[in-house]
Structures are given as structure tokens and as C-alpha cells.
């Protein structure tokens, strides 16, 4: 079906790959390696474990896992790795990318379509990459009368703030980028940045549609921030802590959604509003105000906003999991690392290798991550579902919902939580200490 490369032949493609590998190896061994050795000859090398670091020793790291693994293990516990890869940006971006793909296929199934189909052969799995490439290659157009510095910095601020939100979510026991003792307050503070960014970029674009969209975003986010904070207050009352890791830890036996279902519902509705998803997508209502506060963004600036939106989606779904669905807690389903590999080593043919530093991740962390991902994906699917079912609501109904109904409901659950606490059902001597 593809018309991109009608003359495509797989054999020639593979042959060209071998060609490239051959030339790279040839050039590297004839030119690269001598240069590396010449440089190493003149540089004074550090001493590690009583051995001078020579190129030979460096090479053994690649070949000998018992030398490599401790280094990798140390790397895994550095803040750098936490921020870039696992509980931080890389993990969140991966889940966000999966979310975009799942959203498109899921919505297509609701609407009796097929969704992305051709890009990447298997069910259009590479569609997102194609879209990303398209966005990167597009021209970035800045309106002539825009306030250029603020307009430029808007998308970056948006992604940065979304990333800050991601960094507060604990994925497994001890696996969190930032673990302040007032984690929940930090979440509230970070959420408070989004309306400012919306209004700033909307004003900087100097366009009527962005202006209306920005004001709508401001109204919506402020109206839903208060019930959002109030709905989480009942969890704080029950746990007595603002630290997200401790809140997750406290749900080993019962999830808080059992005791605070109204809070969970209020929080879920607030998530939808904060994420500007249907039915609360007024700031981007296409048929009314073109694209709202995103109207003037083009190319990768729009791409960054989209990235930020989906990071935010992941962060809120993770927050819901941590606060109401028990976070990483769950029955142990991940198989334990086979103990005889640690004691006796691995036998591959005639060679038996004893590798120090195994396993890389302990069973608790892998099991916790698995449960966290399962729960978060479930919440994300629930967040995606209204898009196929509901139309957009109107601004007066939106404000009425936020300021009147949700705040009332959140207060009801706060009283329920207080009642549970003072009646002794929860807390000291109750079901949960």
C-alpha cells in the first residue's frame, strides 16, 4: 500500500546494511582505534581497584560482566539516571507515547474506524514517530506582533512544569526522582504553574482566539484546582503525611479509594479538567475558538506542548494510583531471581561464569513497578474514555461544576474521613495503624 518507496527490495536493503557495517568497522579499526590508543598513551590514567586503567582494562569492562555490572548498578542509583531514564523523563515519555498510540486505536475502535494502520507495518505502531518527524521538520512561525521571548519560552515552560510533576511520582519503593517530605504540597504548587503558562503564552501570541482560550484555561484551572486540593485532603487526614511515598506505603492492606470513593471521583473529574480533555476541553474548543491558547503554535513548539500534555496525563494518572489505588502495592507476581545463578554462576556450554552484582533490580522493585504500571494504564484508559462518549460542556456549566458541586462533594468526603478517624475505624487501634 505504501507509495513511499515503490522500488523497495528487502535483499538490497539488507545488503546495504552489511555494506554500512563493513565500512564503519573498517574505518573505525584503521583510523579510530589508532587515534584512541595514541591519545590514551599520552594521558595519565586513573587507578581503579589497585589497577591502572589501561585501554585493555577498559576493554575488559565490555567483555566481562562481573566488572561491568557493578558500574551499571551504581549508575542506576545516581540522580542523573533517575531524572533521565527510569522513574523520570524517559519512563514517563515512553508511557506517554504508548498512551498516544493506545488513545488513537482505542478511540478508533469506539468510532468504528481502524485508526493508524500503515506506518510501521504492524497496526501503524510507528505513526507517532512519523508525526514527530513531521512536527520537527515543520517551520516554526511566530506572529509578527507576538511578544517573542515569552512566546518562545511558553512551550519549554510547559514541558518543564509537566516534567517537574512527573518527578514527584514514586514508581516503586525508593524509586522516585524527588522525595520531599511535603510531596503533595509540591504537587499543588506545580499544578499552580499551568494556568500562568497558559495565560502568558495566550497573551504573548497577541491573537483574539488565544486570548479567549487563555482566559478560559485560567478560569477552568482555578475553578478545578480548589476541589482537587480539597479532595486530596481527606487522604492526607487519613494518612497524616504529605509524603507521596509514605502515602503509597500506607496502603498495603486497604486502598484509600475504599474509604474515600467520593474524593476519588472528584479528583478524577478534576484531572479531566486540569488536562483539558473532553468534556472539559473548552480552552481548545475547535469549533468555537479555533485551537484556543494553542492557536498560534506551529511545528515543534506545538509538539512540545503535546509532549507536555501527555506527560501531565501520565503524572496525574500516576498521582491517582499513588493516592487512591495503592501505588506500587500488590501481590508478588514477579518471579524471584534464580538464586543458583548468584551462588553457582551461569553455565554456557563449557564455560561457567560467576557474575558479581546480579540481580540488577531486586524483586520488590520490579513487582512494584509492574503493579504501578498496570494501575496507571488502567487510570489512563479511564481518562481517555470520555473522549469517545461526551460532547464538550459550556463555560457556565463548567464553573458551576467546579465551584459548586465538586467543592461540596469534596467537603463531604473530608467529613467522612474525619469521622472514620475519630470513630477509631482507621488510625491507632483501627484497621490501619
Amino acid at each position: 500500500m505504501s507509495t513511499i518507496a515503490p522500488q523497495f527490495r528487502l535483499s538490497r536493503f539488507i545488503a546495504s546494511l552489511f555494506d554500512i557495517i563493513f565500512w564503519v568497522l573498517l574505518i573505525f579499526s584503521l583510523v579510530g582505534l589508532p587515534i584512541v590508543f595514541i591519545v590514551l598513551f599520552y594521558i595519565k590514567m586513573p587507578i581503579i581497584n589497585g589497577q591502572m586503567l589501561t585501554p585493555y582494562l577498559a576493554m575488559t569492562w565490555m567483555a566481562d560482566p562481573s566488572r561491568t555490572l557493578p558500574i551499571i548498578k551504581t549508575l542506576l542509583h545516581t540522580t542523573f539516571f533517575h531524572v533521565i531514564a527510569f522513574p523520570g523523563f524517559g519512563f514517563a515519555a515512553l508511557l506517554a507515547a504508548a498512551t498516544i498510540f493506545v488513545e488513537r486505536k482505542f478511540l478508533a475502535k469506539i468510532q468504528l474506524r481502524v485508526g493508524p494502520l500503515y506506518c510501521g507495518k504492524i497496526e501503524g505502531i510507528l505513526q507517532l514517530m512519523g508525526d514527530g518527524l513531521k512536527l520537527i521538520s515543520k517551520e516554526i512561525i511566530i506572529p509578527a506582533k507576538a511578544d517573542k521571548p515569552i512566546f518562545w519560552v511558553g512551550p519549554l515552560l510547559f514541558v518543564g512544569t509537566a516534567g517537574a510533576l512527573v518527578s514527584l511520582i514514586p514508581v516503586a519503593r525508593g524509586w522516585v526522582v524527588a522525595n520531599p517530605s511535603v510531596g503533595l504540597l509540591a504537587v499543588f504548587a506545580t499544578i499552580g504553574f499551568f494556568p500562568i503558562i497558559s495565560v502568558l503564552t495566550a497573551w504573548a501570541a497577541n491573537n483574539k482566539w488565544t486570548f479567549i482560550g487563555g482566559l478560559r484555561a485560567l478560569h477552568q484551572m482555578i475553578a478545578f484546582e480548589i476541589p482537587l486540593i480539597l479532595s486530596l485532603l481527606s487522604v492526607v487526614i487519613l494518612t497524616g503525611t504529605l509524603n507521596l511515598s509514605q502515602i503509597a506505603e500506607s496502603q498495603q492492606h486497604y486502598w484509600w479509594i475504599v474509604f474515600t470513593p467520593i474524593s476519588a471521583i472528584v479528583f478524577f473529574i478534576c484531572i479531566l479538567a486540569e488536562l483539558e480533555r473532553i468534556p472539559f476541553d473548552l480552552p481548545e474548543a475547535e469549533s468555537e475558538i479555533v485551537a484556543g491558547w494553542l492557536t498560534e503554535f506551529s511545528g515543534m513548539m506545538y509538539g512540545l506542548i503535546q509532549l507536555g500534555t501527555y506527560l501531565k496525563l501520565y503524572a496525574f494518572a500516576g498521582l491517582f494510583t499513588v493516592l487512591f489505588l495503592g501505588g506500587w502495592n500488590g501481590p508478588t507476581v514477579w518471579p524471584a531471581f534464580p538464586a543458583d545463578i548468584i551462588t553457582h554462576g551461569i553455565t554456557i556450554g563449557p564455560v561457567t561464569a560467576k557474575i558479581a552484582g546480579l540481580p540488577l533490580f531486586d524483586q520488590d522493585m520490579l513487582n512494584g513497578t509492574l503493579w504501578f504500571v498496570i494501575k496507571t494504564v488502567g487510570v489512563i484508559l479511564l481518562i481517555l474514555l470520555p473522549r469517545g462518549v461526551f460532547p464538550r460542556i459550556r463555560i457556565d456549566m463548567l464553573l458551576h461544576t467546579g465551584w459548586y458541586k465538586l467543592i461540596g462533594l469534596a467537603f463531604i468526603n473530608i467529613f467522612i474521613a474525619l469521622g472514620l478517624l475519630y470513630a477509631g475505624v482507621l488510625g491507632p487501634g483501627g484497621l490501619i495503624q
Binding site: Q111, L112, K208, I278, A285, S287, P391, R392, I395
Partner: protein, 377 residues
Amino acid sequence: MTTQLPPGIQLEKIDDRIMTLNVGPQHPGSGHMRLIIKVDGDYIVSCDPDPGYVHRGEEKMAEYRNYIQNVPHLERPVIHDSSNILYPYCLAVEELLGIEVPERAKYVRVIAAELNRCIYTLYWLAIYGIFLGHSTMFMWPAGDRELFIDLLEAMSGARVTHAYLVPGGVRNDLPANFEERCLRQVDYFEKRLKEYQAVFYKNPILISRTEGTGILSRTDAIRLGTTGSVLRASGVNFDIRKKEPYDVYENLDFETVVMKEGDSYARSYVPYLEMFESCRIIRDAIRKMPKSGSVRTKLKPNPKGGNEEVYKRVESGRGALGYYVVSNNRPEPYRVKISVGSFRNLICMPYLLKGELLGNMPAVYWSLNYWPVEADR
């Protein structure tokens, strides 16, 4: 207020509060037209519709072609309701030229017209859905339209611009087994229509969003000259198929859908209920249709009309659609004037939008059953 103000204090001018928005023609919620909307905060102060971006001079073009050559270009204003926009032209020309239409052709015309009405209404409903942010309601009708498009393709050979109705009958007879296929698809379509109700018309958010917005009272609806579903949603029982029956509509069993509310919800619900009536008409017409016979009266080459004028109108998807055709002993018409429902319904838009929220603009605008291309002709 020309009194002396303290130094440094100014009164706010009304122009500072009011922002003028140019909705269209390059706006996702406008269609091929422009609305100049003035808003005070989120409230619409005034709305000035500005049609005419797709004016194609259909009426003038009709004066340079003979009666048969006029058929394909006259359906262009509403290509997805092409049978209904050709219907009054065929009726008028038949009266001018004194042509008698065979009985079977009259039934086939009715079937084509009702199928086309469903195609138009589904298209309209799809856009109504996406205007309200309901993307499923965009995809479902757009997909189910294919059922009727396939049927009309089997009838006429073209998927969209059929040019099926011609003066003297229809262009060609129905294909073999058309009746069974048509009934099967209509049965399936009625099942799908009930699902629309579950996902769209009974949706609490949709109801709370469209109920009570843009209310057009019965007297205003008559005074402003609206037609079609807009008029019927305001409680006026007026359907040309019932009031001035043409062809075989008087033999067929159907009812006029009337609602009393006159708000956006009623205006969007009436066309939906009319699709059920269309299905009824199609079933009834297939049952009562003569099973064989001619479907087209042979015309003289290049027929000339007498020195007379004719006005014929039918009920299209957007209301009364009339053709005023004047002939003066020549093969070409002297004048063709098309009176379309879209343009008449547009007149009440400034009246309805005044004082509404900006968020209601798409809901009210598209509930008027307005098709910009038809309004410009």
C-alpha cells in the same frame, strides 16, 4: 456622562469592552461563510452573518443551457442532497414542457429523494456532532452514510453527484434485486439510529448544553420566514410533502415531526426523527411501486418551453426548496430563480445568537440546518 471627572480617572468606553471576532471563512467552526461576532466577555452582543464566499452564479448559468443541460450543474450547490435540489426543477420543467411522468418513475424519484435526504441529514448530524466536540458522533453518521451512498450508486452510477432525476422521470431503471437490498440496509440503519440516540441525544451533557439555547418562538419562526426543520422544531406543522404533495407523496404513509420547544435541541432532534419517517417512506414506496414499466418519458430533442412561468417547490433536507422557471419560446429557460431553505434560515441567526454565550455559537449555528454553498447558489 459628560460631567467633570477627577483628574487621572477615565470612564470605560463601550468599545473597549467589546471585541469583534471574525469567525470564518477560515475558521473550523464556520463553513464557507463569515460571522462577524461582537462579544462582551463571553456573551455575544451582535452577530452579522456574511454569506457569499461560494457564490457560483448557478441561476445565470442556467440561462445559457437548455433544459436538459441544466441538470448536472444545478445539483452542485448541495451535492449530498442532489436529488432533492433537482426535484423541483424537474417538476417545473415537466409542467413547462407538458411532459407526463410514468407512474414507476414517480416512486423511484421518491425513493431517491428520501435516500438523499438521509445522506444529507447524516452529513449534517456528523458536523453537528463535531461542532459540539463529540467526535464519535462525527464518525458514526459519516460511516453510516455509506449505506445510502452505496444504494444511490447502484441506482445512478455515481456516488455523490447523481444527476439521477431528469425532466421526464429518472435517468435509468433500478438495478436487479434493488428492493431487497434497500430494505435490508434501511432495517440496519434504523437499528443504528437507535444507537445514535443512546450515545448522543440522550447524553446528559448534550441535553444540558443545547436545551434552552437559541429559543425561536412559534410566532418569531413564522415572522422571520424560516422553513424546514427549524420551523417544525418551533411547533409549526408545515411540511410541503404533506401540505402541497408532489408526485406520489399523498399515497405514502408518513407523519410530520413537530416539536414545541424551539431550542437548539429540538432543532437538532427533528431531522433525526425525520430520518425514521424517511425510512418509513422508503419502505412504503417500495411496497406500492409498480414492479415494472417505463421510468422515463422520451423527450423531443432540444425541447422548447412555451411563453409561461412556473413555480414548484419541494421539501428538501433544509426546508422548502423552490424553483421559479420562466420560459420564452426558447430551448433555454429565460430565468431560473432558486429559493433555498438555507438562506431563509440564516436570517434568524443574528436574532438567535444575541445574548448567547460564545460557546453556544456552534450549537445554535449548525442547528439552523444551514448549508453555506446552497445559500450562495
